[in-house]
């Protein structure tokens, strides 16, 4: 059964100009299609264009050429404010270094994406608490990030990535800062999210992490070099 394509990237290019003279082509016309409910890992050595791909996938950057359809809308030429809105509504970010906001409590950190969408925080409070208990932090709603372990912080980040009910979750080395036991916990959690139907795009250089994905895209020199299918989609 063919599922709806959430991400459709066609011939995407990204050119950087360094020092005003030297041009670097980080992406050279890559094509990527990711369907709803997929779990895709992107791998590649440094310099392969992996980070640039991540930035474009996350709507943090615009491609120099090519098209990027996210949920059916062309986001490749969108102005800055609209991109912010797309990020806030359609993408859930999980970062390597958790990136929680230090002065906010657990529950407030989970609320941040809703705040920028202008949602009533009192109305959505219950949902945030639900998410916190989903990641096992219902007892620590009023804690601040510096009172939490790395694993706990990453779990808060996962809850935060879910709060806006995004089209996809974009995870950038989510286990990079964690020891292997907590890393596994986090990965299990991501597996469960995928099992519940969430689309996951995960960037990593760790083969064990990539193994969990349905498909692994290997990047090289700004292109998708090869694609490995680990297992067919189960759901």
């Amino acid at each position: 059964m063919e599922r709806k394509a959430i991400i459709q990237i066609e011939g995407i290019e990204k050119k950087y100009v360094l020092g005003g003279e030297i041009e670097v082509l980080a992406l050279r016309g890559a094509d990527v299609t990711i369907r709803e409910g997929e779990y895709v890992a992107i791998m590649g050595p440094s310099g392969s264009g992996k980070s640039t791909m991540l930035n474009i996938l996350g709507c943090l950057d615009r491609p120099t050429a090519g098209r990027y359809y996210l949920g059916g809308d062309d986001v490749s030429k969108m102005p800055d404010d609209e991109l912010s809105e797309v990020r806030g509504k359609r993408i859930g970010f999980i970062f390597q270094s958790y990136n929680l906001i230090a002065q906010l409590t657990v529950i407030e950190n989970i609320q941040v994406p809703l705040f920028y969408q202008g949602k009533d925080l009192a109305e959505t409070y219950d949902r945030c608490v639900e998410l916190a208990s989903l990641v096992g932090l219902s007892e620590r709603l009023e804690h601040r990030p510096n009172q939490l372990s790395g694993g706990q912080q990453q779990r808060v980040a996962i809850a935060r990535s879910l709060v806006n009910d995004p089209l996809m979750i974009l995870a950038d080395e989510p286990t990079g800062n964690l020891d292997s036991a907590t890393g596994l916990e986090v990965l299990d959690m991501i597996d469960r999210l995928n099992a519940d139907g969430k689309t996951i795009v995960l960037v990593t250089h760790d083969d064990y992490v990539a193994e969990r994905a349905h498909r692994v895209l290997h990047m090289k020199d700004g292109l998708i070099d090869r694609e490995v299918v680990n297992r067919p989609e189960t759901n």
Partner: protein
């Protein structure tokens, strides 16, 4: 989409939280604004108080009044040695009063006064005082209150009665145990029955500012009818001269004429007219014209300049406070680059970031402003308690200082906030 009120409230709360994360730093930054606001309020309060006393003294003279005083002409107009044994004739005359009343347009009333310094006696109490011969309208024009009994009246004037009204200060000194209204005082061999007590409105301070002689009792005044003063005391006043022979004689009809005009507009015109009129009959410079209205305007002008100078000094300290805030906010933006990146990734628009940092700056400066207002209102209060300076905290100075502190927060917050918004989200996320 305009920011909703609840979102703004959350942003303000967030700003306070972020500032509380670095209490010492925020406190020190606020100190600049606190001192600025405090000095604006305190300086304006002290300035206001200083000019208040002078203005009140002038106002007591009456803004509708023109005061003409007799002056002893300068020495050089007299022939050397010629005065001895001769009487010196100068000053305002009864005719002057009549002429002003009948010729100057806009005159409401004219109050003549004869002021003679003489000693007053009651039993063994013997005090120097001023015997003021005047008319019954004196209390209304000169602004004194009749506390007990009555002032001299038209009948007293008509019959040249030996009655007097005395000031409460003199009554206390002269009659420590008796009821003044049942007594009489003796001046130069004549008894005057006390019919009333009056209260001078002017205070000790104002009198000394008005240039009265030092060491003189300030409110030892005895008011008697004009006609009585003319017949009992006369126009010729003999003074003992310390050097040379015996006595010096002066002939002065009136010491002061207070002209009450119908309104303040008339005062402006009448000033020059009176001068012209008097000059025709006075060939020597033996009078002065005091226009309280003009003095009041001058005092107001002085006060305005005073306020501008004090205000500028205070404004500079506010400016310095503002620069301090901007400095800290720029450092904060750099320090929180990562947070800015995260917020951008999670959906914050550029203007959300601008708002966040601007609100934080404004919270800082308004917080400083609030504390500054409290300290600034307390400072003049303490100053007046410790010294005898009068200070007046005006509402507008508090409003101004507070408003400026808010404006400074915005003015000095815009640059750091827009610098924060301009950060590239990718760079910001990568920032260590």
């Amino acid at each position: 989409m305009a920011m909703r009120a609840s979102q703004l409230v959350s942003t303000i709360k967030l700003g306070i939280k972020s500032l509380l994360l670095h209490k010492l730093r925020s406190g020190l930054t606020m100190l600049g604004i606190i001192f600025g606001v405090c000095s604006v309020i305190a300086m304006l309060a002290i300035g206001e108080g200083a000019s208040y006393e002078a203005q009140e003294a002038i106002k007591n003279l009456g803004s509708n009044n023109i005061i003409i005083r007799s002056l002893k002409p300068p020495e050089d107009t007299k022939e050397a040695g010629g005065t001895r044994g001769r009487e010196l004739n100068y000053g305002l005359t009864y005719d002057d009063g009549a002429r002003i009343y009948s010729t100057i347009p806009g005159v409401h009333r004219v109050l003549p006064m004869r002021i003679i310094r003489e000693n007053v006696r009651f039993n063994e109490n013997y005090l120097p005082c001023q015997i003021i011969g005047t008319t019954p309208i004196y209390p209304e024009i000169a602004g004194v209150d009749v506390v007990r009994g009555r002032f001299i009246c038209d009948t007293d004037e008509l019959h040249q009665q030996n009655v007097c009204a005395i000031t409460t200060g003199l009554a206390n000194r002269l009659f420590p145990y008796q009821d003044p209204l049942t007594q009489a005082v003796k001046v130069d061999g004549v008894y005057y029955r006390v019919v009333g007590l009056v209260q001078e409105q002017s205070t000790t301070d104002q009198r000394s500012q008005a240039g009265e002689m030092e060491g003189e009792p300030l409110d030892n005044n005895i008011y008697i009818p004009m006609s009585t003063s003319r017949s009992r005391i006369g126009e010729l006043i003999l003074k003992r001269v310390t050097s040379g022979f015996g006595v010096e004689a002066e002939r002065v009809e009136l010491h002061q004429i207070t002209v009450q005009m119908k309104d303040t507009e008339a005062v402006e015109i009448a000033d020059a007219q009176i001068k012209t009129l008097l000059n025709r009959f006075h060939d020597q410079n033996d009078y002065e014209i005091i226009v309280p209205l003009q003095l009041l305007r001058q005092a107001e002008q002085t006060k305005r300049i005073f306020n501008i100078v004090l205000g500028s000094i205070a404004a500079i300290s506010l400016l310095v406070g503002g620069i301090g805030i901007m400095n800290i906010m720029l450092a904060t933006v750099t320090e929180r680059t990562r947070e800015i990146g995260v917020r951008r990734a999670l959906g914050a628009k550029k203007r959300d970031i601008t708002t966040q940092f601007l609100v934080e700056t404004v919270v800082l400066s308004i917080g400083g402003g609030l504390v500054g207002v409290l300290v600034g209102v307390a400072t003049p209060f303490i100053v007046s308690n410790l010294t005898d300076m009068i200070t007046i905290v005006t509402f507008w100075s508090v409003f101004l200082a507070f408003g400026i502190s808010g404006a400074i927060g915005i003015a000095f917050g815009i640059y750091p906030a827009s610098a924060a918004a301009k950060l590239d989200p990718i760079e910001a996320l990568r920032h260590e």
